[in-house]
């Protein structure tokens, strides 16, 4: 079996004050090229840790990740991450934030003019060319996240990792960003792995939803295939019976069978 991205028997433990705690236990997951997969679970279940393992920011104690027949060792631009809090560098303009990534990834293969065009192209994908010259401090949270997405896309990643990308946004901004990501996914055809705790968001965007049990030592509880035609329209989805069935299944998993323990 050789999937495009395969997570194989990944276990992660954290050590804090001499106490070793299991975070993830033997997680395996196969993702095909161009697929949009969401990982959903209660907070503290280790879903972000799993994303960081794929991103190379956290090393697993056992198991490994193979992307396009190569084992992942450390972070790299072929697994671009969109961070929850955008992580734009505040001293650079939006353009320069994206350009830094473009220069680093394509510095040897593209000419200066091509790198400029590629930077602008990616800002255009997220509809942010109008704010190219602005600093992150001068634009709204939703716009910052758009630039963060543009920066990740500009690395031309094999897999785009989204770490609760819309978590810090208000509902309306979140909806418009979800549509933007959905559109980009259709246009660019990139493989996407997204962490979320929003059920509607997961069903609306994904081809598959991976539901994780509660930590410590979280495992994959269930995987749900979402068979809905694309492009998906938010309003039409409300009347789509399958959309509601999928929602119910995820809600049932999260709240009936694996309810969060009292925090």
């Amino acid at each position: 079996m050789s999937s495009y991205l395969s997570i194989e028997n990944v276990s992660v433990t954290f050590q804090r004050a001499g106490v070793v705690s299991d975070v993830l236990r033997s997680i395996s997951l196969a993702i095909e090229q161009g697929e949009y997969v969401s990982i959903i679970g209660h907070s503290g279940c280790g879903k972000s840790t799993l994303l960081n393992v794929v991103g190379g920011l956290v090393a697993p104690v056992s198991g490994g990740v193979i992307l396009d027949r190569r084992e992942v060792a450390g972070p790299g631009p072929e697994r671009a991450i969109v961070f929850q809090n955008h992580s734009l560098l505040p001293w650079l303009s939006c353009y320069e934030n994206v350009r830094l990534a473009v220069d680093k990834v394509f510095g040897r293969t593209k000419s200066r003019a091509e790198r400029h065009d590629w930077t602008m192209h990616n800002l255009q994908l997220v509809q942010m060319t109008h704010a190219a010259a602005k600093r992150p401090g001068e634009i709204s949270g939703g716009m910052k996240q758009r630039v963060g997405i543009a920066r990740a896309l500009a690395m031309e990643p094999k897999v785009l990792l989204l770490d609760e990308p819309f978590g810090a946004l208000d509902a309306l901004t979140r909806a418009s960003l979800q549509e933007a990501v959905s559109e980009i996914h259709a246009r660019v055809g990139c493989t996407i792995l997204m962490i979320t705790h929003d059920v509607d968001e997961a069903v609306f965007l994904s081809d598959r939803i991976v539901m994780m049990t509660n930590g410590p030592a979280a495992i994959i509880g269930e995987i749900l295939d979402i068979v809905l035609p694309r492009p998906r329209c938010r309003v039409a989805m409300l009347e789509e019976p399958r959309f509601n069935q999928y929602r119910q299944k995820v809600l049932d998993f999260l709240y009936s069978r694996h309810a969060a323990r009292a925090a």
């Binding site: 972070p75 671009a80 001293w91 942010m128 758009r146």
Partner: protein, 298 residues
């Protein structure tokens, strides 16, 4: 303030329209109509209140010390007694009989040399200590104790070490202003957001790139906070140490006038000291705003 607010509220509504956006051209930096009158208003609003307060202080001072028998001169008698000093800062009759400009520039050149050394050494040490958990733990208590030593307390040691006025003065500036620079730089490096470092790691920046593209700019606001405190302290140090060292310099001038019982000259010199100290602080703050590309407060 009103101008700033107008710019911000202009930019925000664009969020609502962006989901249906076509390609938008880069905006030209546009000049807002009516900006110049607003700017003039702002200048007036920030200049008039301090002018009023200064006038008020002068009036009260004159009333309190206007009596010719008063031990402390009022503004008018200062103007009478020290007119040459106020009007012509550039006269030079050789020796120490010079205009205040020459005394101040001697002091400033000492500050420039001593403080540059402190800034350079302080930033380098601060980066090293901030990047190294054990170095921070080991050195921090030492710095916290040394930074509270008053500038003049270093002078006898300095004189014993260097035996001459000029290097002693430089050393006192160096040793008083280096601590805030080290401590603030170390804190800046220590407080680097992990997210910025992760961005650098995903981009596979080399360690040099990581330092110059991520760490140095992220720590710049902290570094300039340290530099601002540092330059203030070096100005304190130089005025105090020149009083004891003699020769040329604004500190020595003050001491010399004290010995000559010319209180009004001392007051003129004090105003110079204050204005120059303020200018130094603004200069470093502006430099910081420029270097951090607007992310440092000034």
């Amino acid at each position: 303030m009103t101008v700033l607010a107008a710019v911000k509220s202009d930019a925000l509504p664009e969020v609502a329209s962006q989901s249906s956006a076509a390609i938008v051209k880069l905006p030209q930096p546009k000049r807002r109509p009516g900006r110049h009158p607003a700017f003039a208003g702002q200048v007036l609003a920030s200049v008039v209140p301090p002018l009023l307060v200064i006038t008020l202080i002068l009036i009260v001072w004159q009333i309190a010390c206007g009596d010719p028998a008063s031990l402390f001169p009022g503004p008018l008698s200062i103007w009478e007694q020290s007119r040459e000093l106020i009007v012509d800062p550039f006269f030079n009759r050789g020796g120490v009989d010079k205009g205040l400009f020459w005394h101040v520039s001697t002091s400033l050149s000492r500050v420039a040399i001593g403080f540059s050394m402190a800034a350079l050494a302080g930033v380098l040490l601060g980066v090293w200590i901030g990047a190294n958990k054990w170095a921070l733990r080991a050195f921090d208590p030492v710095f916290q104790v040394l930074r509270t030593v008053p500038p003049l307390a270093w002078l006898p040691i300095s004189l014993a070490l260097f035996r001459e006025a000029q290097p002693s003065a430089l050393f006192v500036i160096f040793i008083t202003s280096i601590w805030p620079v080290i401590i603030n730089t170390a804190v800046g490096i220590r407080n680097l957001p992990q997210d910025y470092l992760n961005v650098g790691r995903v981009l596979r920046l080399s360690s040099a790139e990581m330092f110059f593209r991520i760490m140095a700019p992220a720590a710049t606001p902290y570094i300039f906070t340290g530099l601002r405190i540092g330059i203030g302290m070096s100005w304190l140090a130089i005025v105090a140490s020149e009083m004891l060292l003699g020769g040329v310099g604004i500190g020595f001038f003050i001491w010399d006038q004290y010995n000559a019982s010319r209180i009004s000259d001392i007051i003129v010199a004090l105003i110079w000291v204050g204005l120059v100290g303020y200018a130094l602080d603004r200069f470093v703050a502006l430099l910081g705003r420029f270097a951090s590309r607007g992310t440092a407060a000034s």
